[in-house]
């Protein structure tokens, strides 16, 4: 009896947090999304689906987000995996901690400043000027979707590296020897042993990066020159410029819904995969 109360007491802070910081705001967003914009902006109570009917007006923003968020996740994965592999498996164990710290160091500076730096790297006097020296004149990098992708991969790389690193670090090196003793060449060992065992890390990393990317607004604003428009940018404009809280809430609610659907689909796929691998390992 008392144990049950202790459990409840221990869970109370988290429960209160979720209620106040998650459930309540979501409820407010839902209510607002059924309302209307006030004459000078803000929210006027109403019960209408007009805001949802107007969603196609932000089609491009949804499209850009739904294309560039997965693309950014995949590119970040392709860059992060070899790095994590090197850190966990190949690097000198004595240097490992220092190398890991080096991956974190950029986090000590605000993402804003790091992204702003890319404006100069990708701007006319940065990489394009170097390319012009070797014969590729008039390359335009800044304010393109490519620049946004570079910024995204750069900004979110550590979030991808660490989960993969952790899963590779735990990997029992004996399994690799077994695979090799049984005659598998290194590449086959990687595909059949290392990669499947690191899938939980890959899955976590992808999820972390993908979810954050879906709400991204800073990187497209700075590196896309206001021309590569994400849902996050649409939301900032709706709340800070046109002050259309009702429509903004409808867009936000739709984004939450899309995230719920994609993330649960993704989890289901991953779980199924994990079960299948368990069986094959047995």
């Amino acid at each position: 009896m008392s144990g049950k109360w202790v459990n409840r007491l221990l869970l109370a802070p988290a429960a209160a947090w979720f209620l106040v910081m998650l459930a309540l705001p979501l409820f407010v967003i839902l209510v607002f999304s059924l309302g209307e914009r006030g004459p000078a902006g803000g929210y006027v109570p109403a019960l209408t689906l007009a805001q949802y009917a107007n969603l196609p007006a932000r089609f491009t923003a949804f499209k850009n987000t739904l294309l560039l968020a997965p693309a950014g996740t995949v590119v970040a994965l392709l860059v992060a995996y070899p790095l994590a592999y090197y850190l966990a498996v190949r690097s000198n164990p004595r240097l490992r901690t220092m190398l890991l710290v080096l991956v974190i160091v950029p986090f000590w500076t605000s993402i804003l400043i790091r992204t702003y730096a890319w404006i100069f790297i990708l701007g006319g006097r940065g990489i394009p000027a170097l390319l012009a020296l070797v014969g590729f004149a008039d390359v335009r990098l800044i304010n393109t979707p490519f620049a946004v992708l570079v910024g995204i991969v750069y900004g979110y790389l550590p979030l991808m590296v660490f989960p993969i690193y952790v899963s590779l670090e735990k990997l029992d090196k004996g399994l690799l020897e077994v695979s090799s003793d049984l005659g598998a060449p290194p590449l086959r060992t990687f595909w059949q042993v290392t990669l499947p065992l690191s899938i939980p890390g890959v899955a976590t990393g992808c999820m972390l990066v993908f979810i954050l990317l879906m709400g991204e607004f800073l990187i497209p604003a700075l590196l896309g020159g206001g021309k590569v428009f994400f849902i996050g940018n649409a939301l900032v404009d709706l709340f800070l410029q046109s002050r259309n809280w009702a429509y903004g809430s409808a867009v936000a609610a739709t984004l939450v819904l899309i995230m719920l659907l994609t993330v649960s689909l993704y989890m289901r796929l991953m779980l199924r995969r994990a079960h299948r691998d368990d069986v094959s390992l047995l």
Binding site: N143, K227, F229, N233, L240, N244
Partner: protein
């Protein structure tokens, strides 16, 4: 100032970081980010933090607290003036920089802005009064405001129904800056040329503001419509032009000084002071007012309802309206003021500068923005469609 040992001590690292953190807790919006990372922010931090760390001295007019929070625009003040204000009063000035009036309005509407003074533009004041977001000014606390010294057309928007809600800071125009190195000797003079050249020779080199009032207003001028039009047919024409031009734009952003300076952008919609600052540093960059007209505006100081450091806010407004202080402000920001007393203290070449004081025929064609232009939901949606296209 009293000379104590403390006065001569250098700023400790911990104290400096503490001050920096305080600044970082300001508003966090996209364009605020841009402004904040600029030089303006660095100087504001230095100016605000350094004197604030010295020991406080009581001010003659009484204790006004240790800080005052000002919401304003980028590159809009002389940091040395803030430093002097702190020396005189003990209150150090915390600066929040904004990118658009809409953003300021949004922040005040959401409540809890924490500002003591802010800088609204002429066409927003009736909206603020209507929403009860600003208070009638207690002019007894602003003895440096002498209504008669100000040119009425730049000060009248501060008075709503006979009550003074805001006092004039400075005024200016919205034109465009163009790097004449790339025009082949041709002088640009109209908004029509601005948009046409963007689609051709300047493709990929032009910037427009991330602000519906000016970007839509100046697109309307292409057709000779009013800058303030909310007519659906005229707005549809402007939208068509904007969508046509969009693939040729370098960026949609109000942070146009860095790309104009490094040569990535060749032309950008610009306000007087930016035009002046760019032309001073790079003479090949010229400031153009479209012959068809465009915007003339006036910025004001106002006190938000429920300002947390109200007394310090009034003290700051009064200080900044002191003609000697205001003259220093003008030299720093490059916008003209409507105060005859201040103009007496300014160098002659500045008062004859064609960027600050455009020719009469150009000036007469300009329109003040209207309150309805800013709050019109169709114009806001139009800009959003343009940006997301």
């Amino acid at each position: 100032m009293s000379k104590t040992d403390k006065d001569n001590m250098p700023i400790s690292r911990q104290k400096f970081m503490a001050e920096l953190r305080r600044y970082q807790k300001g508003s966090v919006s996209r364009r605020h980010f841009l402004a904040v990372t600029g030089l303006g922010f660095a100087t504001a931090v230095m100016a605000g933090a350094a004197p604030g760390l010295r020991s406080r001295t009581a001010w003659a007019a009484g204790d006004i607290g240790d800080r005052v929070i000002l919401a304003t625009w980028p590159n809009y003040h002389d940091p040395a003036n803030f430093e002097r204000f702190t020396e005189m009063t003990g209150a150090h000035v915390q600066v929040n920089v904004f990118g658009s009036n809409e953003e300021m309005l949004a922040k005040l509407q959401a409540g809890g802005s924490g500002w003591d003074v802010f800088v609204p533009t002429n066409y927003t004041i009736t909206t603020y009064v209507g929403e009860k977001l600003i208070e009638p000014l207690d002019l007894g606390k602003i003895p440096n405001y002498e209504a008669g010294a100000f040119e009425p057309r730049f000060s009248e928007a501060g008075t709503v129904n006979g009550t003074v809600y805001a006092v004039p800071k400075d005024w200016g125009t919205t034109g465009y800056v163009v790097n004449t190195k790339h025009t082949g000797g041709k002088k640009l003079t109209t908004w029509k040329e601005f948009w046409d050249i963007t689609k051709t020779e300047f493709s990929g080199r032009t910037m427009v503001h991330d602000y519906q009032l000016t970007t839509i207003g100046n697109a309307l001028k292409y057709f000779g419509y009013s800058f303030n039009s909310v007519d659906p047919k005229e707005l549809a024409d402007a939208e068509k032009l904007l969508l046509e031009v969009k693939p040729h734009l370098y960026a949609i952003s109000s942070d146009y000084q860095p790309p104009m300076r490094n040569g990535d952008a060749w032309m950008a919609m610009a306000w007087t002071g930016d035009g002046k600052q760019l032309h001073t540093d790079l003479p090949e960059i010229e400031y153009v007012l479209g012959k068809e007209g465009g915007e003339i505006w006036s910025d004001y100081y106002a006190v938000p309802t429920g300002a947390p450091h109200r007394e310090a806010g009034y003290a700051l407004i009064n200080f900044l309206l002191d003609p000697a202080v205001n003259a220093k402000e003008v030299l720093a920001h490059g916008y003209p003021v409507a105060d005859a007393r201040t103009n007496k203290l300014l160098p002659k070449e500045l008062l004859e500068d064609p960027i600050l004081y455009p020719a009469k025929d150009l000036l007469n064609a300009l329109e003040f923005g209207a309150a309805a232009t800013l709050t019109d939901p169709n114009r806001a949606e139009l800009l959003a469609r343009f940006k997301s296209a």
